[in-house]
Protein backbone atom coordinates (compact mmCIF):
# COMPACT_ATOMS: atom_id res chain seq x y z
CA UNK A 1 0.00 0.00 0.00
CA UNK A 2 2.72 2.33 1.03
CA UNK A 3 4.65 1.48 -2.07
CA UNK A 4 1.76 2.23 -4.37
CA UNK A 5 1.27 5.57 -2.68
CA UNK A 6 4.95 6.30 -3.08
CA UNK A 7 4.84 5.31 -6.73
CA UNK A 8 1.98 7.68 -7.33
CA UNK A 9 3.84 10.45 -5.54
CA UNK A 10 6.95 9.81 -7.60
CA UNK A 11 5.01 9.86 -10.85
CA UNK A 12 3.20 13.04 -9.95
CA UNK A 13 6.26 14.83 -8.72
CA UNK A 14 8.31 14.06 -11.79
CA UNK A 15 5.65 15.64 -14.02
CA UNK A 16 4.79 18.65 -11.91
CA UNK A 17 7.74 20.79 -11.01
CA UNK A 18 7.27 24.33 -9.85
CA UNK A 19 10.27 26.52 -10.44
CA UNK A 20 11.18 29.79 -8.83
CA UNK A 21 14.20 31.79 -9.76
CA UNK A 22 16.16 34.31 -7.80
CA UNK A 23 18.65 36.76 -9.26
CA UNK A 24 21.37 37.39 -6.71
CA UNK A 25 23.51 39.72 -8.78
CA UNK A 26 24.02 38.46 -12.31
CA UNK A 27 24.27 40.32 -15.60
CA UNK A 28 20.70 39.36 -16.67
CA UNK A 29 22.08 37.03 -19.32
CA UNK A 30 21.15 33.80 -17.54
CA UNK A 31 17.99 35.47 -16.37
CA UNK A 32 16.61 35.96 -19.86
CA UNK A 33 17.79 32.53 -20.91
CA UNK A 34 15.56 31.09 -18.18
CA UNK A 35 12.77 33.26 -19.58
CA UNK A 36 13.52 32.01 -23.07
CA UNK A 37 12.77 28.49 -21.82
CA UNK A 38 9.17 29.65 -21.53
CA UNK A 39 9.07 30.40 -25.24
CA UNK A 40 7.07 28.06 -27.44
CA UNK A 41 10.34 27.03 -29.09
CA UNK A 42 11.52 25.24 -25.94
CA UNK A 43 8.17 25.15 -24.15
CA UNK A 44 9.17 24.33 -20.61
CA UNK A 45 5.53 23.80 -19.64
CA UNK A 46 5.12 20.71 -21.79
CA UNK A 47 7.32 18.88 -19.29
CA UNK A 48 5.12 19.95 -16.42
CA UNK A 49 7.53 22.63 -15.29
CA UNK A 50 5.82 25.83 -14.31
CA UNK A 51 7.93 28.93 -13.78
CA UNK A 52 6.65 31.47 -11.36
CA UNK A 53 8.50 33.59 -8.95
CA UNK A 54 6.97 32.52 -5.69
CA UNK A 55 9.32 30.64 -3.38
CA UNK A 56 6.50 29.43 -1.14
CA UNK A 57 5.10 27.12 -3.78
CA UNK A 58 8.31 26.17 -5.52
CA UNK A 59 10.10 22.85 -5.69
CA UNK A 60 13.17 23.96 -7.58
CA UNK A 61 15.01 27.20 -6.90
CA UNK A 62 17.15 28.43 -9.76
CA UNK A 63 19.94 30.58 -8.38
CA UNK A 64 21.36 33.06 -10.88
CA UNK A 65 24.30 35.31 -10.25
CA UNK A 66 27.26 35.72 -7.97
CA UNK A 67 26.11 36.60 -4.48
CA UNK A 68 26.14 40.29 -3.61
CA UNK A 69 26.38 41.30 0.07
CA UNK A 70 22.75 42.43 0.14
CA UNK A 71 21.58 38.98 -0.83
CA UNK A 72 23.48 36.92 1.73
CA UNK A 73 20.76 36.90 4.37
CA UNK A 74 17.85 37.21 1.93
CA UNK A 75 18.96 34.17 -0.04
CA UNK A 76 18.91 32.07 3.12
CA UNK A 77 15.46 33.45 3.95
CA UNK A 78 14.14 32.50 0.54
CA UNK A 79 15.65 29.04 0.86
CA UNK A 80 13.97 28.56 4.25
CA UNK A 81 10.61 29.59 2.84
CA UNK A 82 10.56 26.88 0.21
CA UNK A 83 8.63 23.84 1.46
CA UNK A 84 10.25 20.42 1.50
CA UNK A 85 11.15 18.61 -0.73
CA UNK A 86 13.26 21.25 -2.37
CA UNK A 87 16.33 21.55 -4.51
CA UNK A 88 18.48 24.41 -5.70
CA UNK A 89 20.09 24.52 -9.13
CA UNK A 90 22.84 27.00 -9.95
CA UNK A 91 22.44 28.48 -13.43
CA UNK A 92 25.48 29.88 -15.16
CA UNK A 93 29.07 30.40 -14.17
CA UNK A 94 28.40 33.07 -11.56
CA UNK A 95 27.00 30.86 -8.78
CA UNK A 96 29.69 28.26 -9.45
CA UNK A 97 32.84 30.34 -9.63
CA UNK A 98 31.89 34.00 -9.87
CA UNK A 99 32.59 34.13 -13.62
CA UNK A 100 34.38 37.35 -14.61
CA UNK A 101 33.43 39.05 -11.36
CA UNK A 102 35.71 36.88 -9.22
CA UNK A 103 38.60 39.29 -9.41
CA UNK A 104 40.43 41.76 -7.27
CA UNK A 105 38.14 44.64 -6.31
CA UNK A 106 34.90 42.76 -6.62
CA UNK A 107 32.03 43.22 -4.20
CA UNK A 108 30.54 39.79 -4.75
CA UNK A 109 31.32 36.70 -2.72
CA UNK A 110 30.85 33.59 -4.82
CA UNK A 111 30.26 30.64 -4.80
CA UNK A 112 26.64 30.34 -3.79
CA UNK A 113 27.34 26.97 -2.17
CA UNK A 114 28.56 28.83 0.87
CA UNK A 115 25.01 29.91 1.64
CA UNK A 116 22.59 27.25 0.45
CA UNK A 117 23.09 23.63 -0.66
CA UNK A 118 23.26 23.28 -4.44
CA UNK A 119 22.18 20.00 -6.01
CA UNK A 120 23.21 20.64 -9.60
CA UNK A 121 24.86 23.33 -11.63
CA UNK A 122 24.63 24.31 -15.27
CA UNK A 123 27.90 25.89 -16.43
CA UNK A 124 27.99 28.40 -19.25
CA UNK A 125 27.93 32.14 -19.59
CA UNK A 126 25.03 32.08 -20.22
CA UNK A 127 23.94 28.46 -20.69
CA UNK A 128 21.61 27.73 -23.58
CA UNK A 129 17.93 27.18 -22.76
CA UNK A 130 18.31 23.58 -23.87
CA UNK A 131 21.04 23.06 -21.29
CA UNK A 132 18.91 24.62 -18.54
CA UNK A 133 15.93 22.47 -19.54
CA UNK A 134 17.82 19.22 -19.57
CA UNK A 135 19.47 20.06 -16.23
CA UNK A 136 16.14 20.70 -14.51
CA UNK A 137 14.61 17.62 -16.13
CA UNK A 138 17.44 15.38 -15.09
CA UNK A 139 17.88 16.61 -11.53
CA UNK A 140 14.30 17.06 -10.36
CA UNK A 141 12.96 13.46 -10.55
CA UNK A 142 16.08 12.10 -8.90
CA UNK A 143 15.79 14.44 -5.96
CA UNK A 144 12.09 13.97 -5.42
CA UNK A 145 12.06 10.20 -5.91
CA UNK A 146 11.09 8.29 -2.77
CA UNK A 147 11.45 11.43 -0.72
CA UNK A 148 9.40 10.20 2.23
CA UNK A 149 11.25 6.90 2.50
CA UNK A 150 14.65 8.49 2.57
CA UNK A 151 13.59 10.84 5.31
CA UNK A 152 15.03 9.72 8.65
Amino acid sequence: MRNILQEIKNAVRSRSIHVSYVDVGSCNGCDIEVLACLAPRYDIEQYGIYVHNNPREADVLLVIGSVTPQWVDKLRDIWDKIPEPKVAVAIGNCPISGCVYARRGTLTSPPVEKYIPIAASVPGCPPRPTEILSAILSVAPLIFKDYEERKP
Binding site: P40, R41, Y42, D43, Q46, N93, I96, S97, G98, C99, V100, A102, R103, S121, P123, G124, C125, R128, T130, L133, S134
Partner: protein, 202 residues
Protein backbone atom coordinates in the same frame (compact mmCIF):
# COMPACT_ATOMS: atom_id res chain seq x y z
CA UNK B 1 -17.67 42.01 -27.72
CA UNK B 2 -15.18 43.28 -30.24
CA UNK B 3 -12.38 41.53 -28.45
CA UNK B 4 -14.26 38.23 -28.40
CA UNK B 5 -14.72 38.45 -32.14
CA UNK B 6 -11.10 39.35 -32.45
CA UNK B 7 -9.93 36.32 -30.53
CA UNK B 8 -12.29 33.99 -32.37
CA UNK B 9 -10.83 35.34 -35.60
CA UNK B 10 -7.31 34.93 -34.24
CA UNK B 11 -7.85 31.30 -33.29
CA UNK B 12 -9.71 30.42 -36.49
CA UNK B 13 -6.78 31.30 -38.68
CA UNK B 14 -5.88 28.17 -40.65
CA UNK B 15 -2.23 28.59 -39.69
CA UNK B 16 -3.07 28.61 -36.00
CA UNK B 17 -5.30 25.54 -36.24
CA UNK B 18 -2.71 23.68 -38.27
CA UNK B 19 -0.02 24.50 -35.75
CA UNK B 20 -2.27 23.62 -32.83
CA UNK B 21 -2.81 20.09 -34.07
CA UNK B 22 0.47 19.32 -35.78
CA UNK B 23 3.19 21.44 -34.21
CA UNK B 24 5.90 19.66 -32.32
CA UNK B 25 8.46 21.25 -30.13
CA UNK B 26 11.80 21.50 -31.83
CA UNK B 27 14.19 18.85 -30.57
CA UNK B 28 16.58 20.06 -27.93
CA UNK B 29 19.68 20.35 -30.01
CA UNK B 30 22.56 22.73 -30.30
CA UNK B 31 23.20 24.25 -33.73
CA UNK B 32 26.60 23.68 -35.28
CA UNK B 33 27.43 27.38 -35.33
CA UNK B 34 27.16 27.74 -31.57
CA UNK B 35 30.45 28.53 -29.82
CA UNK B 36 30.56 25.70 -27.31
CA UNK B 37 33.35 24.81 -24.95
CA UNK B 38 36.62 24.60 -26.89
CA UNK B 39 37.59 21.05 -27.77
CA UNK B 40 40.94 19.66 -28.80
CA UNK B 41 41.56 19.14 -32.48
CA UNK B 42 44.57 16.87 -32.07
CA UNK B 43 47.15 19.39 -33.24
CA UNK B 44 50.25 19.53 -31.13
CA UNK B 45 50.36 22.25 -28.48
CA UNK B 46 53.63 24.16 -28.35
CA UNK B 47 52.99 25.67 -24.91
CA UNK B 48 53.05 29.27 -26.11
CA UNK B 49 50.32 30.08 -23.55
CA UNK B 50 48.50 32.42 -25.98
CA UNK B 51 45.17 30.95 -24.92
CA UNK B 52 45.84 31.41 -21.21
CA UNK B 53 47.03 34.93 -21.81
CA UNK B 54 44.02 36.10 -23.78
CA UNK B 55 41.38 34.32 -21.68
CA UNK B 56 39.14 37.00 -20.11
CA UNK B 57 37.70 34.71 -17.44
CA UNK B 58 39.74 33.92 -14.33
CA UNK B 59 40.75 30.28 -14.42
CA UNK B 60 39.00 29.51 -17.68
CA UNK B 61 41.79 27.64 -19.41
CA UNK B 62 45.12 26.19 -18.34
CA UNK B 63 47.88 24.58 -20.37
CA UNK B 64 48.99 21.49 -18.49
CA UNK B 65 51.90 19.15 -19.00
CA UNK B 66 50.54 15.75 -19.89
CA UNK B 67 52.44 12.50 -20.50
CA UNK B 68 53.17 13.32 -24.12
CA UNK B 69 53.64 17.04 -24.28
CA UNK B 70 51.47 19.97 -23.33
CA UNK B 71 47.73 20.17 -23.62
CA UNK B 72 45.24 22.96 -22.89
CA UNK B 73 42.38 22.13 -20.57
CA UNK B 74 39.13 24.12 -20.41
CA UNK B 75 37.28 24.35 -17.12
CA UNK B 76 33.48 24.52 -17.45
CA UNK B 77 32.14 26.74 -14.73
CA UNK B 78 34.92 29.23 -15.38
CA UNK B 79 35.00 29.31 -19.21
CA UNK B 80 32.61 31.89 -20.65
CA UNK B 81 32.70 30.41 -24.18
CA UNK B 82 33.87 33.58 -25.86
CA UNK B 83 36.12 31.74 -28.31
CA UNK B 84 39.08 34.11 -27.97
CA UNK B 85 41.45 31.22 -27.19
CA UNK B 86 40.42 29.47 -30.39
CA UNK B 87 41.20 32.57 -32.40
CA UNK B 88 44.42 33.33 -30.57
CA UNK B 89 45.96 29.87 -30.85
CA UNK B 90 48.53 29.95 -33.67
CA UNK B 91 48.56 26.16 -34.07
CA UNK B 92 44.80 25.56 -34.12
CA UNK B 93 44.88 23.23 -31.13
CA UNK B 94 41.42 24.24 -29.99
CA UNK B 95 38.20 24.35 -31.91
CA UNK B 96 34.77 25.67 -31.05
CA UNK B 97 31.71 26.00 -33.24
CA UNK B 98 32.84 27.14 -36.65
CA UNK B 99 35.29 29.76 -35.46
CA UNK B 100 38.25 27.93 -37.01
CA UNK B 101 36.60 27.78 -40.44
CA UNK B 102 35.48 31.39 -40.31
CA UNK B 103 38.84 32.73 -39.19
CA UNK B 104 40.59 30.68 -41.86
CA UNK B 105 38.16 32.08 -44.41
CA UNK B 106 38.59 35.68 -43.29
CA UNK B 107 42.29 35.42 -42.48
CA UNK B 108 41.80 37.03 -39.10
CA UNK B 109 44.09 36.57 -36.14
CA UNK B 110 45.11 38.08 -32.85
CA UNK B 111 48.68 39.22 -32.39
CA UNK B 112 49.80 39.45 -28.83
CA UNK B 113 52.97 40.36 -27.02
CA UNK B 114 54.06 41.59 -23.65
CA UNK B 115 55.56 44.70 -22.31
CA UNK B 116 57.46 44.62 -19.02
CA UNK B 117 57.84 47.80 -17.09
CA UNK B 118 59.54 48.42 -13.76
CA UNK B 119 58.73 51.47 -11.72
CA UNK B 120 62.14 52.51 -10.41
CA UNK B 121 60.59 54.65 -7.70
CA UNK B 122 58.90 51.70 -6.02
CA UNK B 123 61.37 48.95 -6.95
CA UNK B 124 63.53 47.93 -4.00
CA UNK B 125 65.99 45.88 -6.08
CA UNK B 126 65.31 42.61 -4.27
CA UNK B 127 65.59 40.59 -7.48
CA UNK B 128 62.58 38.43 -6.71
CA UNK B 129 61.25 38.92 -10.23
CA UNK B 130 64.44 37.73 -11.91
CA UNK B 131 64.72 34.69 -9.62
CA UNK B 132 61.11 33.63 -9.80
CA UNK B 133 60.71 33.97 -13.59
CA UNK B 134 60.38 30.43 -14.98
CA UNK B 135 61.85 31.40 -18.34
CA UNK B 136 64.86 32.93 -16.64
CA UNK B 137 65.43 29.78 -14.62
CA UNK B 138 65.24 27.62 -17.70
CA UNK B 139 67.77 29.73 -19.58
CA UNK B 140 70.23 30.20 -16.75
CA UNK B 141 69.97 27.76 -13.82
CA UNK B 142 72.67 29.73 -12.02
CA UNK B 143 70.31 32.63 -11.55
CA UNK B 144 68.77 31.45 -8.29
CA UNK B 145 70.05 33.38 -5.33
CA UNK B 146 71.32 36.76 -6.33
CA UNK B 147 69.24 37.63 -9.35
CA UNK B 148 72.39 38.48 -11.23
CA UNK B 149 73.40 36.49 -14.23
CA UNK B 150 76.27 36.43 -16.64
CA UNK B 151 74.03 35.27 -19.46
CA UNK B 152 72.72 37.84 -21.90
CA UNK B 153 69.85 35.60 -22.91
CA UNK B 154 67.65 36.04 -19.82
CA UNK B 155 64.56 38.24 -19.82
CA UNK B 156 65.72 40.45 -17.00
CA UNK B 157 68.53 40.61 -14.48
CA UNK B 158 69.91 42.89 -11.80
CA UNK B 159 72.61 45.10 -13.22
CA UNK B 160 74.26 47.76 -11.15
CA UNK B 161 71.52 47.66 -8.56
CA UNK B 162 68.71 48.06 -11.10
CA UNK B 163 66.46 45.63 -12.87
CA UNK B 164 67.44 45.59 -16.53
CA UNK B 165 65.00 44.16 -19.01
CA UNK B 166 66.96 42.53 -21.82
CA UNK B 167 64.63 40.29 -23.79
CA UNK B 168 61.03 41.35 -23.48
CA UNK B 169 59.96 39.13 -26.36
CA UNK B 170 60.73 35.95 -24.45
CA UNK B 171 58.11 36.64 -21.80
CA UNK B 172 55.22 34.16 -21.76
CA UNK B 173 52.95 36.32 -19.64
CA UNK B 174 52.75 34.00 -16.65
CA UNK B 175 52.85 37.00 -14.29
CA UNK B 176 54.95 35.11 -11.73
CA UNK B 177 57.10 38.22 -11.32
CA UNK B 178 54.02 40.34 -10.62
CA UNK B 179 52.80 38.02 -7.89
CA UNK B 180 56.27 37.67 -6.33
CA UNK B 181 57.08 41.37 -6.30
CA UNK B 182 56.73 42.60 -2.72
CA UNK B 183 55.52 46.08 -3.65
CA UNK B 184 54.12 45.54 -7.15
CA UNK B 185 56.77 47.58 -8.94
CA UNK B 186 56.93 45.30 -11.98
CA UNK B 187 53.91 45.16 -14.26
CA UNK B 188 53.30 42.93 -17.23
CA UNK B 189 51.20 44.65 -19.88
CA UNK B 190 49.47 42.37 -22.32
CA UNK B 191 49.15 43.94 -25.72
CA UNK B 192 46.67 42.42 -28.12
CA UNK B 193 45.88 43.51 -31.64
CA UNK B 194 43.19 42.03 -33.81
CA UNK B 195 44.46 41.90 -37.36
CA UNK B 196 43.42 40.60 -40.72
CA UNK B 197 45.99 39.33 -43.13
CA UNK B 198 44.82 39.85 -46.72
CA UNK B 199 44.51 36.60 -48.60
CA UNK B 200 47.06 37.65 -51.20
CA UNK B 201 49.85 37.67 -48.63
CA UNK B 202 49.07 34.35 -47.00
Amino acid sequence: MRSIIYYVREFLRPEWIRKFFTAKTAPLETPSYFKGYPTLTGNKCTACFSCMMICPAPGGIAVLRKKDGWEPEVYPGHCIRCGLCVEACPEGVLSSGRILDVTAHDGTAFWSWYHLEVDDNICMRCGNCCVSCPVNRQIDPQLAGSGTSSSDEVIMRIEGGRVQILHEEKCTGCKTCETNCPNSAIRVARMVEGVQIPEAET
